[in-house]
Symmetry: C2
Subunit: 266 residues, 2 copies
Amino acid sequence: MLTMLEIEGFRETARAAIGASRATILQKMSSGWSTRRKADSSLVTDVDLAAESAVRDVITRRHPDHGILGEELTSVNPGSEFQWVIDPIDGTLNFAHGVPLYGSILALLHKGDPIVGVIDHPSLGITTEAAHECGTFRNGERIRIVDIASEQDIAEEIIAVGGREQFVRSGAAGLFDRLFSGHRFVRTYNDCFGHTLAASGAVGAMIDVDLHIWDIAATRVLIEEAGGEFVLTASPQGLSKDGRYDAIFGKPSVVRWLLDGFMKEA
Amino acid sequence: MLTMLEIEGFRETARAAIGASRATILQKMSSGWSTRRKADSSLVTDVDLAAESAVRDVITRRHPDHGILGEELTSVNPGSEFQWVIDPIDGTLNFAHGVPLYGSILALLHKGDPIVGVIDHPSLGITTEAAHECGTFRNGERIRIVDIASEQDIAEEIIAVGGREQFVRSGAAGLFDRLFSGHRFVRTYNDCFGHTLAASGAVGAMIDVDLHIWDIAATRVLIEEAGGEFVLTASPQGLSKDGRYDAIFGKPSVVRWLLDGFMKEA
């Protein structure tokens, strides 16, 4: 069991690390940066690398014994019961094209459970953060997910999804297509932008698939601490760079409706 | 023919009007607002009404003889060769749900041709404006649409679309579905947010359908003055509140590729 004081300390670390990441990203955006393609053909920029380094520096300085698992750089202290997971630029496609919805994600897992989570959107000026039993905050203001009052209200809810290319990779293209033809307001609010919207109840729920641990750990804390529901529909064994997760999260009734309806038709 | 001085004056009016609209929206957002449903079942809020009034006040004070056509209020001076068209909150669904991508649109038509256009996103802090032969500017900085270098680069471009519900209304649901299965990166960046992205080249092009004149007039100037291509694929006769437009706009080669490929398969 961790004390509130310990959790508060970790949250301070997360804030400082995300602050360093945001400063790095905005500075690089104004000074120029370059892009290259990774072995898996996904994009990486030197901004990703610089931002992840900035985050790691803050964590290592404050918690030299903690583990760090990041998208771009080598893992450290893989045996620690504390593991920080980092995605310095989630939504690199958006970032590289100049779509301002990309973000940075940081979470702390204790014995496998996420206890601190932050999603930051440098170009939007929106930071959402949460810590275990401390609530969820957006730019310093407490936010809560208000569930819909009745089943009928689902028709008015926006359902967020990732890109169809993610559903194709995850073998779930049929689910993607069924959602668009079966619900009126479906939107591709890819990557952590959709997670940010779900944490404030702006979208009823999000279905996001083919995710890494660093894409999903912060979201679990953000959603649950805001009073929402977070369900993994696919999850690998243990913590690794390779495992892939599928998740549904948002307002409890909307999550249930998606699980009982669209997911079962598959 | 209008002089540059006249056009510059109209641009100043547009800036002042959009500034008044943004101030009204942000003030209403912090003080609280209410929503109701219009006869056509679409949403309207008292923020829409207040923002449109604020815009109209600025225009009427400066150009009492100009026409005004707005989504929410009665038309004035319908016979004038100058017609301002206003959508005070484009993306009311997003606005009402707390998705920050909604925006305000304002354009001036002279003898039916848009000569000044502004799209403002109060919650994102992004304003894009253009005037005939004066270029396109984003937050005061000149922006240009850079065309792709070759056909192969299309695979890396993001194609923006409106919601599937718009394509259904426009009888083009098949086009929507073909786009998602035929191109890797398709995103529902609804309403004027997609237009803003197209004007800076962040998306390769956007296909947007079932639009009113106030949704599309500003975009024509923004895209063309940035060096992009704007094509109406459906357009009513004359200027009215009822006519509906379909459009494709963005990087010239991507617009051509969409016109020659996906549109022809219909």
